[in-house]
């Protein structure tokens, strides 16, 4: 390193960027050490002033407050989950019941249709069924019965 630390090198030093040449120079140059001290002073004062200001403003720590806040938040989360589940149930239940009713109606329609189908497929109306049976019963010898 040929000369003294440049302003940029001073900023680098304060930021923790330290080239070995700069470190060697700083070890033997009182002028640069003093310059570094001057450069650091406003930053150190700023830090001290801010710490003092914040210390005056810091609220008194409340023991147990964090744990009780965590419990409150947990209860709040649980309540929200429960409310969401209740809301989902309120929406889902009517849909489910409506679906069940639709299935039941379809089943009843199917049964009715089957009944109608049965009625329609009969060769004679229900009140005449005994007569038809009688005819069927006589059928093997019916021919002779009808011819006799």
């Amino acid at each position: 390193m040929s000369g003294h630390l440049s302003p940029v090198e001073v900023s680098e030093w304060l930021a923790g960027i330290r080239a070995s040449a700069a470190e060697r120079h700083m070890a033997e140059c009182a002028g640069c050490a003093a310059e570094l001290e001057r450069a650091n002073q406003p930053l150190a004062l700023f830090g001290a002033a801010t710490r003092a200001w914040c210390a005056a403003e810091t609220p008194i720590p409340r023991m147990g407050a964090v744990a009780s806040a965590a419990r409150r938040r947990q209860r709040f989360v649980t309540m929200r989950v429960a409310l969401a589940a209740a809301a989902a149930l309120m929406i889902a239940a009517p849909v489910y019941l409506q679906h069940q009713r639709a299935i039941e109606t379809a089943r009843q329609d199917e049964a009715l249709l089957e009944q109608v189908q049965t009625e329609v497929s009969r060769s004679a109306p229900e009140p005449m069924q005994p007569l038809e049976k009688l005819v069927q019963w006589n059928a093997p010898s019916g021919q002779s019965a009808s011819t006799q």
Partner: protein
């Protein structure tokens, strides 16, 4: 099943007692608005409490808390851009730097005025920094954290921290040179 919080975190009241001032200080210096700083301090400690079983002790409790605080500041800024800063940058000045701290120095009125002006100039200069620059600047010069700790607290590489810090320091020094 999660393990019980180890070591320092087993007594969380002690964590609050020991670290709340530093968390609040960083948040107040970052936001310059007392109410937000207080609320975010509570939020920071609450998050730490809820996550205490996940703390592995790879960093100190303070650095771990600072990491949560840095994230909270970032989220807060996204929801409430620089208006707090710009407003509070001026209004908080007198409160900040005319307190007991200056009186305790027992210096002459001229020296006191000089100190006040230097501090005020740095305070103003930090307003113009980017969020990351300001964060590393405050962690370094207010919290007096090492580069390695700042890297852990911000989630940045050490080299990146140094680069941000260099830009911040250089910008502040340029402002100071321009201050009459």
């Amino acid at each position: 099943m999660t393990a019980a919080p180890a070591g320092e975190l087993a007594d969380f009241d002690a964590v609050v007692r020991d670290h709340q001032p530093a968390v609040f200080r960083f948040l107040l210096a970052s936001l310059r608005e007392r109410e937000s700083a207080e609320n975010l301090t509570q939020e920071c400690l609450l998050r730490a409490y809820q996550a205490r079983r996940n703390f592995r002790g790879e960093a100190s409790v303070r650095t771990w808390l600072m990491r949560i605080a840095v994230n909270l500041v970032h989220d807060h800024r996204k929801s409430a851009p620089l208006r707090f800063w710009r407003r509070a940058a001026e209004t908080s000045l007198d409160v900040a730097f005319t307190g007991d701290w200056l009186a305790d120095r027992r210096s002459s009125p001229e020296a006191e005025a000089s100190v006040r002006e230097q501090v005020r100039a740095v305070w103003r200069a930090t307003v113009a920094l980017s969020e990351r620059q300001r964060t590393v600047f405050l962690l370094r010069f207010v919290e007096e954290m090492e580069i390695r700790e700042i890297a852990t607290a911000t989630g940045l590489q050490e080299g990146t921290v140094k680069a941000h810090l260099f830009r911040a320091v250089d910008a502040v020094r340029k402002k100071l040179r321009d201050t009459p």
